[in-house]
């Protein structure tokens, strides 16, 4: 685990200074607490086949959570506890065996915001799943919720998306999209029409789907790109 500006009380990580972090999550459950008025960007990787992360966001804290994984079962709980807290959650996964993500987002204060972008490319024959729940209880006003869930199937694998928004206030702004499909036939045709072989087209489109939303440094970008290339072979 690489941390700067940290106060680490395992399994709880308390972040109180603005910075970028890299976190390798193993089998132990990890709890991340963001101090009030703190913003931070975290890149979460995995060292085991499953991960369990809980995130608590205090007043006016802003959390950018990004993750690029391969064949991992993840459970992420996000508690927007303080007024004005916000999370931008980008989760990308390459799947070749059964795996999935379960995200639960709890808006517990007013003016909180969650933007969830999940993308899986399933190269395998088994099930890849996304389960995304977000809730806004009575009394939490002016919340903003966005969910975008995508699974692309390359072979005979399956995909399942279970998106749920439970909103008990009238003035929330919510957006939702979910789709399971193969790569667009038109895009495949367009790329191949320029001489690019099918395998290389899959690589380009997978990369765009999984890395297009991510904001990471060149070193990680190269690392993730290599993972995609390896999977394609």
């Amino acid at each position: 685990m690489m941390f700067m500006n940290k106060l680490l009380l395992k399994p709880q990580i308390y972040i109180e200074k603005e910075d970028s972090y890299e976190l390798v999550v193993g089998e132990d459950a990890v709890e991340i607490v963001l101090a009030p008025y703190t913003s931070c960007k975290l890149l979460a990787l995995a060292s085991s086949k499953s991960q369990n992360v809980t995130i608590h966001l205090s007043k006016e804290s802003r959390f950018e959570y990004q993750s690029f994984l391969q064949n991992i079962n993840s459970k992420i709980q996000i508690f927007l506890e303080g007024e004005g807290a916000s999370v931008d959650f980008v989760y990308s996964m390459l799947a070749s065996s059964k795996c999935g993500l379960k995200v639960e987002v709890y808006h517990q204060s007013s003016h909180t915001s969650s933007r969830i972008h999940n993308a899986i490319v399933n190269y395998g024959e088994e099930l890849a799943s996304l389960s995304v729940d977000a809730s806004v209880p009575k009394g939490c006003v002016s919340c903003h919720l966005t969910q975008d869930n995508r699974i692309t199937l390359l072979k005979n694998g399956k995909g399942k998306i279970l998106p749920n928004l439970w909103i008990d206030e009238f003035d929330c702004f919510a957006e939702h999209s979910a789709y399971i499909s193969k790569f667009s036939k038109e895009k495949m045709f367009y790329c191949r029409m320029r001489g690019i072989q099918e395998q290389d087209v899959y690589f380009l489109l997978t990369k765009s789907m999984l890395l297009g939303n991510m904001n990471v440094d060149d070193e990680h970008l190269t690392q993730f790109t290599e993972m995609i290339q390896k999977m394609g072979r």
Partner: protein, 255 residues
């Protein structure tokens, strides 16, 4: 020397509709042909079938490219052999940059990895010719591009990939007068620099043919060529419309 020979082609769409009916056409190396016709006659279908789209089924006939049938070749192989289609409505692909896409395509066409320096120089020159902004190199393919920018991007790809047979499908749609002039000048320049390259222009209007003069103009109706002549035919269509084609005289069916 024959470049493209289409013999008695019959093509059916997936929903069972016959679109091309005994369509024949011969294009020799270095020739410029134009196919004109009203909507729904099968012009765009023809371009996609030449390119290898599996949206259509060839139920009779053959397409020969440099003397060899290409019907069984996949799309990308046809492209690597030098066939290039400028799309009427190029798709946008979010997250794949123009430069990454084109470098991958160029490496595929050449069969070897293209060096970054050489590629950047090629791009800079071609983009300069087309008066394209430099930042478009790093933008996602056709994402948020205007109609004119999309068409310029298609011509940029042509200039980089250096195909031998270019099919322009409605190049002039979505282009303003200035942009049309720029892209047509670039196509013309490309033909001058590559005299063995053949060009097939598919269009409704004769406007584009004023910039790129074809040696042959064909009129297509109901899935086949009904009339062939030179540029005068395009001008007559402009004057009388397609309905007047049957009543025109002095033009033979092209064989």
């Amino acid at each position: 020397m024959k470049m493209l020979e289409i013999k008695e082609l019959k093509v059916r769409s997936k929903d069972g509709k016959d679109i091309l009916k005994d369509f024949s056409l011969l294009i020799k190396k270095g020739e410029v042909h134009a196919i004109m016709g009203p909507n729904g006659t099968g012009k765009s279908t023809l371009s996609k079938v030449i390119m290898g789209s599996d949206d259509y089924e060839v139920i009779h006939g053959d397409i020969l490219y440099n003397g060899t049938s290409i019907l069984n070749l996949p799309v990308d192989e046809r492209a690597r052999q030098g066939i290039f289609l400028v799309n009427q409505n190029p798709v946008s692909i979010e997250g794949v940059t123009n430069s990454e896409f084109l470098k991958t395509a160029l490496s595929s066409v050449r069969g070897e990895n293209v060096g970054l320096y050489e590629f950047m120089k090629l791009m800079e020159n071609a983009m300069g010719d087309l008066k394209m902004r430099e930042d478009m190199m790093h933008r996602s393919i056709n994402q948020d591009f205007s109609g004119g920018e999309r068409k310029k991007n298609e011509i940029l790809q042509m200039k980089i990939l250096k195909p031998k047979l270019v099919i322009l499908d409605e190049l002039d749609s979505g282009l303003d007068v200035d942009s049309l002039k720029i892209v047509c000048e670039n196509v013309r320049q490309y033909l001058e620099e590559n005299p063995e390259t053949s060009l097939l222009i598919i269009t409704h209007y004769s406007r584009i043919l004023e910039y790129i003069k074809p040696q042959y103009v064909h009129v297509m109706k109901d899935g086949k060529i009904v009339q062939t002549s030179d540029m005068s035919l395009a001008l007559e269509i402009e004057k009388n419309g397609y309905d007047g084609v049957n009543s025109m005289s002095g033009n033979d069916v092209y064989e």
